[in-house]
């Protein structure tokens, strides 16, 4: 192994730096600190162009969820804060805006692990999703029911008793009730069977294609995510290491090897596995 191999893929200068014009969401070089001491994001930049699906990939602890929490304003509830950098959404600086106001501006987050309101019915969950809407929410409700006919059939059921896949649909439907401009999804595939994962991502693709909804999705399941996304970012240790068009990322030999678990040269011995792990860190 040469030093070239060690540094090759991530060495492109400043991926994502400087938001291109027309980006709906632009994160500019933010740092996030928890509890005043734990630095989680170290100068992260990314942008989400309007009408696209952008996938944010990376291993556990890379800071993907923290990124979405920073965008949706949930950090203060976890003793976290954006200590430098800025986040602009729809041309407006939202770095210090409180969470409810961000929802009103059109940013919706589906949290990791679904987080439906377990003791509320499906219909009540959806109407809670429309909380920021003044006036009638019935047209939006019709839209969600049309998109997820199954939710309509289950509207009087208690959300806590739905299956994982149904809860994920409900969580997405609930987020849609606020009529978001940007929908952020934190690991929608968590704990779901492969077939359901396909279905969820097909739904995300359909939402984007039919309504032009912009989507930023975090995923462990890189292959599935890249199959519907237009653009992808790969994170490691609080920074963006690589970004490219989704198709190019899926073809990238390093990504193939490190995230998709395909490619490489057949079976490897344990020694190679150790070597593989070392190579996986680009930093």
């Amino acid at each position: 192994m040469t030093t070239d191999e060690l540094t090759a893929p991530g060495a492109r200068p400043g991926p994502g730096a400087g938001a291109p014009d027309g980006a709906l969401l632009a994160i500019n070089n933010i740092e996030v600190i928890y509890d005043d001491v734990i630095l989680v994001l170290r100068g992260l930049s990314l942008s989400v162009p309007e009408g696209q699906i952008v996938a944010l990939l990376g291993s556990n602890g890379a800071g993907k969820s923290t990124t979405l929490k920073a965008v949706s304003g949930l950090l203060p509830s976890e003793q976290g804060e954006v200590s430098s950098g800025s986040i602009t959404f729809n041309g407006q600086d939202i770095t210090r805006m409180d969470a409810p106001e961000r929802v009103r501006q059109g940013l919706s987050l589906c949290m990791e692990g679904r987080h439906v309101f377990p003791h509320l019915t499906v219909a009540e969950n959806l109407s809670a999703g429309g909380y920021t809407k003044n006036g009638s929410i019935s047209s939006q409700l019709d839209f969600v029911y049309e998109f997820f006919p199954k939710l309509h059939d289950m509207r009087t059921r208690t959300a806590g008793f739905l299956s994982g896949g149904e809860q994920q649909m409900l969580a997405i439907g609930r987020a849609l009730m606020a009529e978001p401009k940007l929908l952020m999804l934190d690991e929608p595939s968590l704990g779901l069977a492969p077939l359901l994962v396909e279905e969820i991502f097909a739904t995300i693709g359909r939402l984007n294609a039919e309504t032009g909804l912009t989507v930023l999705v975090i995923e462990q399941n890189a292959q599935t995510a890249l199959s519907v996304a237009h653009h992808g970012y790969i994170m490691e240790q609080g920074r963006i290491m690589l970004e490219d068009e989704a198709r190019a990322l899926a073809e990238n030999p390093d990504v193939k090897e490190f995230y998709l678990g395909i490619g490489g040269d057949g079976k490897k011995s344990y020694r190679d596995v150790k070597h593989y792990k070392r190579r996986k860190r680009w930093l």
């Binding site: 949930l74 509830s77 969470a99 109407s127 909380y131």
Partner: protein, 290 residues
């Protein structure tokens, strides 16, 4: 048979007042996780503010009621904002201590201004005796039952149907998720304290009407604990059933056995429930899925 009917009406009316008082407690616990030991003092304060506006200042009934509601909401809001919000993240025991301190403060304030003498309030409702299924019942008990039932129904509808009621339940279920749909958790906290103070106010007024405006209202407020333990701390229907059960039980024990025992019986129930079903008879089972 006629004694039985009388006892049922007495028990139900007292139970309905209890349910109202306990509902305020449950509201606060559900939404904010705070165990409010000052709920009895909220009743006391409600009764005294209403008494002051209606009897001392001779204001019309409806104006006195509105003033009572406004003051209740202000006190609830101030308590939330300046006493409990700074306590966020503190241990349960510290928060309980703070509410016990608040209870002492509120009842001391009332004593300071009004003394300890019970004060008679002019009857809000007719007090003549009416016959219900052969039992003699004071009419005001029926009125109390009716008013409490209306208020409880309105509150239940509020939680089931209104946007803010659903938002309050959403916050009780999952605060972070509530934030992601744009619900202001702070506003919901303030709303819970305000609503709790209003239901305590109404309970306090109704209680003062059938008894008197006096410090004993606090010990009635203490009955909230057997009620909520029986109903399961976080269940609104459980609270209503719990209130009525405790009310009926004390009425029957006092009528058929011994009035002294009736004072104790709710607490005997409390201990038994804690031994047998610690999450209450109607406590919401935690729904957990991964």
């Amino acid at each position: 048979m006629s004694t039985f009917i009388t006892l049922v009406i007495f028990g139900l009316s007292e139970g309905a007042i209890l349910a109202l008082a306990a509902l305020g407690f449950v509201l606060i616990y559900k939404a904010t996780g705070v165990i409010n030991f000052a709920q009895g003092e909220f009743l006391l304060m409600g009764a005294y503010t209403f008494y002051t506006a209606w009897v001392i200042f001779q204001l019309p009934l409806i104006v006195a009621l509105i003033i009572g509601i406004v003051i209740a909401v202000i006190v609830g809001g101030v308590v939330e904002r300046f006493i409990l919000r700074p306590m966020v993240g503190q241990s349960h025991i510290s928060i309980i201590m703070v509410t016990i301190g608040l209870a002492g403060l509120l009842s001391a304030l009332v004593q300071m201004f009004y003394g300890t003498q019970p004060r008679a309030m002019p009857a809000l409702f007719p007090t003549n005796s009416v016959s219900v299924l052969g039992g003699a019942v004071p009419a005001n008990r029926l009125w109390v039952l009716l008013i409490a039932a209306i208020v409880l129904t309105l509150l239940t509808l509020f939680f089931q149907k209104s946007k803010h009621g659903i938002a309050m339940r959403a916050v009780a279920d999952d605060q972070q998720a509530a934030m992601t749909v744009g619900i202001s958790v702070r506003r919901v906290f303030a709303m819970s304290w305000g609503l709790a103070a209003i239901s305590a106010l109404i309970a306090g007024i109704l209680l003062a009407d059938v008894t008197a405006v006096e410090m004993n209202i606090v010990s009635f407020g203490l009955l909230v604990f057997p009620v909520v333990i029986l109903g399961g701390l976080d269940s609104v229907p459980g609270t209503i059933v719990g209130g009525l059960t405790i009310g009926l039980l004390t009425a029957f024990v006092s009528g058929y056995l011994d009035p002294g025992l009736a004072e104790v019986i709710p607490y005997i129930v409390l201990v038994l429930i804690l031994l047998v079903r610690p999450y209450g008879v109607f406590g919401e089972k935690r729904i957990e899925r991964v």
